[in-house]
């Protein structure tokens, strides 16, 4: 079942980020890289800020990463998340994409036990109509480590 039961929260893909969401729907987390100099850029953007190339490549991550920062949300600023309180919003940096942070959620652990630096793994949350949202949970013990 979807973490948040609300159509209001679904992404509305646009010119710049559609490949990101299309890949999510295939259950692949792909970050945009410059096809010429390989610089990662997130959120997606039409120009490489390093070499100004317009060519992009979308590279998948293996989905293992580290928690950069987080907050435990206790107040619903929109009714669509009321039922889920308290929930954890976090920033995750994946081992194979060190230059990008993903805003995501941490599930499968009591919010009070979440810590900066903890190891996390990607999972896919189906929100209906064939769409998937990338969320994270604590990495399994004995799982891949950096």
């Amino acid at each position: 079942m979807a973490l948040f039961d609300s159509e209001v929260l679904a992404p509305h893909p646009n010119f710049d980020d559609r490949p990101f969401w299309d890949a999510c729907n295939r259950r692949q987390l792909c970050f945009q890289h410059c096809a010429d100099c390989d610089t990662v850029r997130h959120p997606p953007s039409p120009v490489c800020p390093r070499c100004r190339s317009l060519a992009a490549a979308w590279k998948p991550t293996q989905g293992q990463g580290e928690l950069f920062s987080y907050t435990v949300v206790h107040h619903a600023s929109h009714e669509s998340v009321q039922a889920q309180l308290p929930y954890v919003v976090a920033l995750v940096v994946f081992d194979d994409v060190p230059g990008a942070r993903l805003v995501t959620n941490i599930t499968g652990i009591p919010p009070a036990q979440v810590r900066i630096g903890m190891r996390v793994s990607l999972w896919w949350d189906e929100i209906g109509h064939g769409r998937f949202i990338p969320r994270c949970e604590p990495a399994a013990a004995g799982g891949p480590d950096r």
Partner: protein, 391 residues
């Protein structure tokens, strides 16, 4: 620059401040117009004297309509700063001072009027938000959890900064508000125990770490030194007013949080602050009093570091030593109660308090205050600040 064109603040004005949704007996546009008229009266000027307006962050009260409403004969400057939540408050001041110093306009008014029962709450969840796709699906909509993540990281990297230090910023603001009859929280004292008893909004932020939501209007009149000479109030000089954003900041903490690692836990003002001081020809040690955009306590701590009042990570100790307290601290801050306890008019009310300090009119007056730092919204892009002084 011709020294006669040095930008000065010659008038400040406001309406009543209330809780959000508190002004429902007249339009938001009227509230903004009343603030402009009040600031003009303070300056001893009339609408015939002004020829410019500046505002920020998608102000709904359009300059061209303000011109018509007030009977301003000729508009020579109207501008609004892009993006950034309240980050643009001092940026609007920078545009106004640039206009008068360049000779493009003579008298420019910066204004803000908001009645949130009539409009949308600032920073609220909205579909059209840039990079909204990278926050909304994760239940991240509001500035409080967004800047909570920045503060959490800052406290992780500097474990000597503790929750009580956030609370001390809130308690300090409330103490100042209790000396200011205009403050929404006047008459409602708060202790550190009260702070710790308040509920979490987004950890580490509790209710009292977050600014008020208010209705009210504010305006500031800017002209040049030559024009200021014969006006009603002693002019307050704008020594420097700047806005800007660091490399790679983008939408920053108000969306996907992909600013560079070195700048992540910051106000986005580290570079700009250095330029601001250089332009004003002063340093942090020269500042007598500061009005720091206090949307969230954690960002105030980072501002104390980024603007050079203490070392990186030293803000907790600085606050615990009482350095931000009136009257004995080295740097009393937010002497009207700030946005945590006076009102939240997107930075304009704290800018007005800076002017009051330099005129000797504050309800928490710093003895012989000559230089005041005022900041715009922190952790936004752009962010902004100004240094104002008594000649």
């Amino acid at each position: 620059m011709n020294p006669k064109r040095q930008a000065c603040i010659v008038g400040v004005g406001q309406t009543e401040f209330t809780r959000h949704g508190g002004i429902m007996n007249r339009s938001q546009f009227q509230v903004a117009a009343e603030a402009v008229l009040s600031a003009l009266a303070d300056a001893g000027l009339s609408p015939e004297d002004i020829d410019g307006f500046a505002s920020f962050s998608n102000d709904a009260n359009e300059a061209a309509l303000m011109q018509v409403a007030l009977g301003v004969p000729q508009l020579r400057w109207s501008s609004m700063v892009w993006g950034g939540g309240g980050g643009g408050s001092c940026a609007a001041m920078a545009q106004a001072t640039t206009a008068v110093e360049a000779g493009v306009a003579e008298v420019v008014v910066v204004y803000r009027g908001l009645c949130q029962g009539q409009s949308r709450r600032f920073g609220r969840f909205g579909e059209g938000r840039t990079h909204g796709n990278f926050v909304h699906p994760f239940g991240l909509f509001a500035p409080a959890p967004m800047l909570a993540m920045v503060t959490q990281r800052h406290m992780h990297l500097h474990p000597q900064i503790e929750a009580k230090h956030l609370g001390m910023v809130a308690v300090n603001a409330r103490a100042n508000a209790n000396r200011n009859p205009r403050a929404v929280m006047h008459g409602r004292p708060m202790t550190l125990d009260d702070y710790f008893a308040s509920r979490f909004i987004a950890e580490p932020f509790r209710l009292f770490d977050c600014c008020l939501e208010s209705d009210g209007g504010c305006a500031i009149v800017i002209t040049h030194r030559d024009r200021a000479r014969d006006l009603r109030q002693a002019p307050v000089e704008v020594l420097a007013a700047q806005h800007g954003s660091g490399p790679g900041w983008g939408t920053g903490p108000l969306a996907s949080h992909n600013m560079p690692d070195a700048d992540y836990n910051s106000t986005n003002a580290r570079r700009m602050a250095k330029e601001l001081y250089a332009r004003a020809g002063v340093g942090p040690a020269d500042i007598d009093v500061a009005q720091i955009y206090d949307h969230f306590t954690g960002m105030v701590l980072m501002a104390l570091e980024d603007y050079g009042f203490c070392e990186p990570g030293g803000s907790g100790e600085f606050v615990e030593q009482g350095q931000i307290a009136w009257p004995q601290g080295k740097l009393p801050i937010n002497t009207s109660g700030g946005q945590l306890s006076e009102a939240y008019v997107h930075g304009m009310n704290v800018a007005i308090e800076g002017v009051r300090q330099l005129r000797g009119e504050s309800t928490s007056q710093v003895q012989d205050a000559r230089l005041c730092l005022v900041t715009g919204g922190l952790g936004t892009s752009p962010t902004s600040a100004m240094i104002i002084g008594r000649p």
